[in-house]
């Protein structure tokens, strides 16, 4: 599965793929690292309940209930957390771990979000955007917070 998505993404040259060992963890584009209260992930039309350590995939939508908090570490070391009654869509994430090039686009539909940007934003000031229903944020770095009531 990981191998397949890497092949499709074309993120790793074949040589690296061949040199990679057998035990590459199924890390996805990121992982849920903290979770409190009601947290779920919408994936392919299904709502999955969340456990810490759960890998995330592009197009996942993370939702919290009235008592929910979730913290996410992305593969480029971006850190995101959302507070109660939040909807965060991880619309697109491409990251080349060798060159640190790629793209991270997310969307906060509602709620609160705190971000520490990672290697993508450090590599290129155009690589990371966050949209809200009212605006587009270009993330040059590094720490910021957003509320959409």
């Amino acid at each position: 599965m990981v191998l397949l998505s890497r092949l499709l993404a074309g993120a790793l040259p074949l040589a690296l793929l061949l040199a990679a060992g057998s035990a590459v963890a199924a890390e996805g584009i990121g992982q849920i690292k903290t979770a409190k209260g009601q947290v779920s992930v919408d994936r392919g039309g299904r709502a999955l309940s969340v456990q810490v350590g759960m890998p995330l995939a592009a197009a996942d939508v993370v939702r919290t209930g009235a008592d929910g908090y979730a913290g996410i570490t992305m593969r480029d070391d971006s850190l995101l957390s959302i507070g109660p009654n939040s909807v965060l869509a991880l619309e697109r994430f491409d990251f080349d771990p060798t060159t640190h090039q790629g793209r991270f686009d997310s969307r906060l539909e509602r709620g609160t979000l705190a971000v520490v940007s990672g290697r993508l934003a450090r590599q290129s000031p155009e690589a990371m955007t966050l949209r809200t229903p009212a605006a587009v944020l270009g993330v040059r770095g590094t720490e910021f917070a957003v509320a959409v009531p």
């Binding site: 040199a19 890390e27 690292k33 850190l79 957390s81 605006a135 587009v136 270009g138 770095g141 910021f144």
Partner: protein, 199 residues
């Protein structure tokens, strides 16, 4: 007369209430960088763009457009303190060095391994990636397995100390990604290494 005056005053009052400042559709605040670096976020609403580039520089997005303002540590704590506290720990990175041509850690790096354990222990669901490298002495046929073997040595050491096997990945990159670029065939201790990321 008095009733008329009262209703006129009431109408005035209602008129004043009818144009309150538009409630924000969103609020964005730039926070100080933990490492003290210069940082910025651009905020674009329709044709308006505003750059937040000072700590606690902020903007309200309203139906009537962008309204920049200066927030403060106190305001941020009140509005965002709990969500900031939910952020995961930042990833930690370590580099361990190896004896030439072997998958044996140098004495200094054996000690550093203790710090790696400590960092892993701080995290409820740690995620560790160990990537092995070699210097440029020898062919890929020698260095690819050697780099993998170095990463595996680290992986096994972590598992032996109780880190769950499925939370540690190991891979080798041979001599392709030197920390210190050299000509081919150069024995460079700084390139004989395993880079570890703890997330």
């Amino acid at each position: 007369m008095i009733r008329r005056l009262a209703s006129a005053l009431l109408a005035l009052g209602l008129a004043a209430c009818a144009t309150p400042p538009a409630p924000p559709l969103a609020t964005v605040v730039l926070l100080p960088d933990a490492g003290g670096r210069q940082t910025a976020v651009t905020v674009t609403q329709g044709s308006q763009t505003h750059v937040l580039d000072q700590p606690y520089a902020a903007a309200h997005l309203t139906a009537e457009g962008l309204r920049p303002f200066q927030s403060s540590a106190q305001e941020v704590q009140a509005q965002f303190g709990a969500v900031i506290a939910a952020r995961p720990l930042p990833p930690a990175r370590f580099t361990l060095y190896f004896v030439e041509g072997k998958d044996e850690l140098t004495p200094d790096s054996k000690l550093l391994l203790e710090e790696v354990f400590a960092e892993i222990a701080r995290r409820p669901v740690p995620d560790v990636v160990a990537i092995g490298h070699t210097d440029s002495v020898g062919t890929d046929a020698v260095n690819d397995p050697l780099s993998r073997s170095r990463a595996e040595v680290v992986r096994r050491a972590l598992i032996a100390r109780g880190v769950p096997a499925d939370r540690v990945a190991a891979a080798g990159r041979g001599k392709r990604e030197p920390a210190v670029p050299t000509a081919d065939g150069v024995a460079e201790p700084r390139n004989r290494r395993v880079e570890i990321v703890v997330r």
